[in-house]
């Protein structure tokens, strides 16, 4: 039997191949047949109607073109959280806590989405100085028509879902600091509150219609934040630090060795973060135009230079370049270039990346060790620090030749960053940074206290030693035996 089918199958396949080859030649012969036509054009005619048609045709084509890139970008940004960040963090913890880390990211993909649909989008992108109103609750009035306040060409649905992806990854970043000791229930409750009380207002102030830090919208303190250095990375990074302090150290830290259980997973995660970040930064042009290309390049250059920076620092210190160092550097560079991506040229992007790579290396290896807090996976060391570095350097390197965002009353473009001679912008950036730091820190403390009283935030010591996978989720990541 074992033999007979083998025999049969081999014959089948031999016959198959012969037939296949015949087919191919047959087909190949026909290949030229394929006509190379293009869609026929309607009969011309120089009538106003026809011109109107053309106007609409152009608008529609432009909209489709931008939409193609924005939908791809939205997908890329989701890829950053799942599996990107989930793997990056999951690989860095000990095996017994790995599913827990992944679940915390995955939970955001689901739960923040629901919050977003109900009120989140409205709070972030409705109108108001500090926070949006309820005009878009349940996504009321969010359809395929563009929302001119934010993007003239793509359907508002696209803008809405694209922004949602940012709201998903931001709280997920915090879980890097609370890793290996925070309750799942506590995480869910805390994130729900944090999203409404910290993220929504901050996103609105910087990006929302009427937000008082909104540079494009002419806010009081025009803070340049192209893709979320302040809104996403500083807010999550600073909140992460507060969480780490509030939760306290993991049992055994720092005495007990806690090496990453799988550098391989973190490596995959970092690569997916890098790739996804193109959607994050270049997508923030909200169109498929030259600015998107420019931001794409800046993003890639920032990441690359930061890898070089971090690795060089490591080499000088240890005489070795580690994979963990390289991927951490990449993330640091991507964080730092985020606010700058759409404002700086390729060479400044390299400079920003290099600075962030070295800067975050020092944060993670020196500063953290000095203060001794347990920011388990360096959410603050990389996102908080990198975001801050990036925000300030954006003020330095932003240039109108890339993005003429400021105009005088006459609509003439004005100088943007220090490199343009507008050194005051560095001040504006600092203002934005300080507000974000303060707002995130205070909000987080308050919400942690509330969460603590509701569900508690930290698992019992026994649960911690058994691991969160089993105690919080009743599963194990690997069941290799049997």
């Amino acid at each position: 039997m074992g033999y007979s089918w083998k025999a049969i199958s081999r014959q089948l396949i031999q016959v198959g191949i012969v037939i296949l080859l015949i087919f191919l030649l047959a087909g190949a012969a026909r290949a030229q047949a394929t006509p190379a036509a293009t869609p026929a054009a309607p009969a011309p005619g120089v009538t106003p109607e026809h011109i109107t048609q053309l106007d609409q045709g152009v608008a529609a084509a432009q909209s489709s073109a931008d939409n193609a890139w924005m939908l791809a970008s939205a997908a890329l940004v989701l890829l950053m959280t799942g599996p990107g960040l989930a793997l990056f963090y999951g690989g860095l913890v000990r095996q017994k806590n790995m599913l827990a880390l992944m679940m915390q990211s995955f939970a955001m993909m689901a739960w923040v989405t629901v919050l977003w649909a109900l009120v989140g989008y409205s709070l972030c992108f409705g109108s108001g100085t500090v926070i949006g109103g309820f005009e878009h609750a349940f996504l009321r009035g969010v359809g395929i028509a563009p929302n001119p306040d934010y993007s003239g060409t793509v359907p508002q649905l696209t803008f809405m879902v694209y922004q949602l992806m940012f709201a998903i990854i931001t709280p997920a970043l915090i879980t890097g600091a609370t890793a290996e000791r925070m309750k799942f229930s506590g995480t869910v409750v805390f994130v729900t509150l944090w999203f409404l009380v910290v993220y929504a207002p901050l996103a609105h102030m910087v990006w929302g219609k009427g937000g008082f830090l909104n540079a494009a919208g002419g806010g009081r303190f025009p803070t340049l934040d192209f893709a979320g250095g302040t809104v996403v990375h500083i807010s999550s990074g600073v909140s992460a630090l507060v969480c780490a302090l509030y939760l306290g150290k993991r049992t055994g830290y720092p005495k007990m060795p806690m090496p990453p259980h799988s550098m391989m997973l973190s490596f995959i995660g970092a690569c997916l973060l890098w790739v996804g970040w193109f959607g994050f930064n270049a997508g923030s042009a909200l169109a498929s135009n030259g600015l998107a290309s420019s931001a794409f390049v800046a993003t890639h250059f920032g990441a690359a230079a930061a890898v070089v920076g971090w690795s060089a620092a490591e080499w000088l210190k240890n005489g070795k370049v580690s994979a963990l160092g390289a991927i951490s550097g990449a993330v640091a560079g991507l964080v730092a270039i985020t606010p700058a991506a759409g404002f700086v040229g390729p060479m400044p992007a390299l400079a920003i990346g290099l600075t962030a790579g070295v800067g975050c290396f020092l944060m993670v290896t020196r500063v953290k060790a000095f203060f001794g807090y347990d920011d388990a996976l360096d959410a603050f060391g990389i996102h908080g620090a990198g975001g801050t570095i990036g925000a300030i350097l954006t003020g330095v390197f932003a240039t109108r030749s890339i993005n003429p965002i400021f105009h005088d009353v006459a609509g003439k473009s004005m100088r943007v960053g220090w490199i343009d001679g507008h050194w005051q912008q560095v001040g504006n950036q600092l203002a934005g940074v300080l507000i974000a730091w303060g707002f995130a820190a205070i909000g987080t403390i308050a919400l942690l206290k509330i969460t603590d009283s509701l569900t508690g935030v930290r698992v019992s010591e026994e649960e911690e030693s058994q691991g969160l996978d089993i105690t919080q989720h009743g599963e194990e990541a690997y069941n290799l035996e049997r």
């Binding site: 007990m256 060795p257 030693s465 058994q466 089993i470 009743g474 599963e475 194990e476």
Partner: protein, 112 residues
């Protein structure tokens, strides 16, 4: 020469190791095992199917010591492995006839 086989809680291994090294007991071999005994396990559930996991991760230390060192070694292990809770594990002692160091074929207690 005696062989000591100690099955302990993984979380205690580091301290046991350090205690032994301090006492100048260098040679040991570590095996990751799973154990069953009085200690209760936990249940896991995958798509509604429940499994009771009653084999728990333990670490087994094997070391051969000169008779003279036996009691010290055992005392150290027991002391630093103890948490007082069910699941702390066991120490077994048995006899070893001969030991050889592969590197230089030295035999007997000198080989340890």
């Amino acid at each position: 020469m005696k062989k000591i086989e100690a099955t302990i809680q993984p979380s205690r291994f580091e301290s046991v190791k350090e205690a032994l090294l301090e006492a100048g007991i260098e040679g040991m071999t570590l095996i990751e095992v799973r154990g069953h005994g009085r200690q209760r396990g936990h249940t896991e559930s995958y798509r509604g199917r429940e499994y009771s996991v009653d084999l728990l991760p333990k670490v087994k230390i094997e070391m051969v010591v000169p008779d003279a060192l036996l009691d010290t070694a055992v005392a150290i292990i027991v002391k630093s492995a103890k948490t007082g809770q069910i699941g702390d594990g066991k120490v077994f002692i048995s006899n070893v006839d001969e030991a050889i160091r592969i590197r230089n074929e030295e035999r007997g207690e000198g080989a340890l």
